[in-house]
């Protein structure tokens, strides 16, 4: 018998591949667009934070003139997006 969560699992896996690919091969803003779509489509998507940390681990450099030398920009924006999505889902139930 087919797992009732099969489609969600497939969709989740597709978003993993898209996010991984966007971090490595596409302009930085594409990552956030895919992240927003994933958060809209899936009930919870905490894995996004791991992808944010992954992106920071590859690209982040301590440069005072870029985000004040802050090296966790992707991670913080990912946490913020997950948090916002959760709050909005509870409030307006999309």
């Amino acid at each position: 018998m087919k797992n009732p969560n099969y489609n969600t699992l497939v969709e989740r896996f597709v978003f993993y591949v898209l996010l991984f690919g966007s971090v490595l091969f596409l302009p930085w803003w594409v990552f956030f667009i895919i992240a927003i779509v994933a958060l809209y489509r899936l009930d919870t998507f905490y894995e996004l934070i791991l992808f944010g940390i992954f992106a920071d681990s590859i690209y982040a450099t301590e440069t005072k003139s870029v985000f004040g030398g802050y090296t966790y920009v992707y991670s913080v924006v990912s946490i913020l997006l997950v948090f916002l999505a959760r709050t909005l889902r509870q409030r307006i139930g999309f």
């Binding site: 091969f25 690209y59 301590e62 440069t63 003139s65 870029v66 966790y72 946490i79």
Partner: protein, 274 residues
């Protein structure tokens, strides 16, 4: 069947508590990460995961651009071949001249007891600056290839674009001088004016100097040293009647979007008898 629901005010209270908790965790995370920058072992794990995919991506991208070239018509290929042939002849003549000058330059330095020999390492570019907001290059070459932190990154033998900021086993990360807001000491070659070039992102720079200094479009900007490196060529000059400064705008000699490989200056043997 009887069902018990939470009272509305209790549900609202729990929701508010969750939001507050989430915000507190976020603020704590931001504060903690401001104090502790990204540990290098996390960076190395990330690069180790990314490198195989980046190498395969680079191979596929190179192969597909070659495949697309095969689809061009024969007439277009012949025309391009002729154009490139002409360009090659012109460049070869210039190169002869340049090689003679370089040999002469080295001979003079030797005679004066000042000689410098650079060892260059070829490194393919795995990711270009547009892929992250940090304006960095990921390079296929690490400390096993002799690349170390603070090594200069050149786009050609004599044109400098950045510096190595992290070096792993087989991969390294370079920061471009054009990173927004980064100041680099440079010299405007013809008048030997020392100043600072401020990065504006993606290979663009600006310099603010006194409007009394006579700088012209086409003047070379160099990084000073025993073997000065080309940094850029002045492309535009803005002078406002109410401003005592003039703004020089220029780009790196190479287009960052087309950058396929770089050279790393891994060591500079300098002999001085003076």
């Amino acid at each position: 069947m009887k069902t018990n629901y939470l009272k509305r005010n209790r549900r609202t209270h729990i929701a508010r508590l969750r939001i507050t908790l989430g915000l507190v965790i976020l603020v704590l995370f931001v504060v903690a990460t401001f104090v502790i920058p990204m540990p290098s072992f996390i960076s190395r794990i990330g690069l180790a995961i990314a490198t195989p995919a980046l190498v395969v991506g680079k191979y596929v991208s190179d192969a597909s651009s070659e495949g697309l070239a095969l689809l061009q018509s024969k007439r277009a290929l012949i025309a391009e071949n002729r154009r490139l042939d002409q360009e090659l002849r012109q460049v070869s003549i210039k190169l002869l001249d340049r090689n003679l000058l370089k040999e002469e330059n080295l001979a003079i330095k030797d005679a004066l007891g000042r000689s410098s020999y650079e060892k260059l390492v070829y490194a393919p570019v795995l990711t270009k600056p547009s892929r992250s907001p940090y304006d960095v290059l990921i390079l296929d070459g690490g400390y096993l290839d002799g690349i170390s932190v603070d090594d200069q990154v050149l786009s050609s033998e004599s044109s400098i674009i950045g510096k190595i900021v992290e070096s792993g086993r087989h991969v390294s990360r370079a920061r471009l001088f054009s990173t927004s807001g980064v100041a680099t000491p440079v010299v405007i070659a013809p008048l030997n004016i020392e100043t600072e070039a401020i990065g504006r992102g993606n290979g663009n720079f600006e310099i603010k100097i006194s409007r009394d200094l006579e700088v012209e479009i086409g003047d070379e900007i160099q990084v000073p040293g025993l073997s000065p490196k080309l940094f850029g060529i002045v492309e535009d000059i803005y002078v406002s009647p109410t401003d005592s400064l003039q703004t020089l705008l220029f780009k790196s000699p190479v287009n960052m979007a087309e950058l396929g490989f770089v050279f790393i200056v891994t060591e500079e043997d300098e002999e001085s008898e003076l």
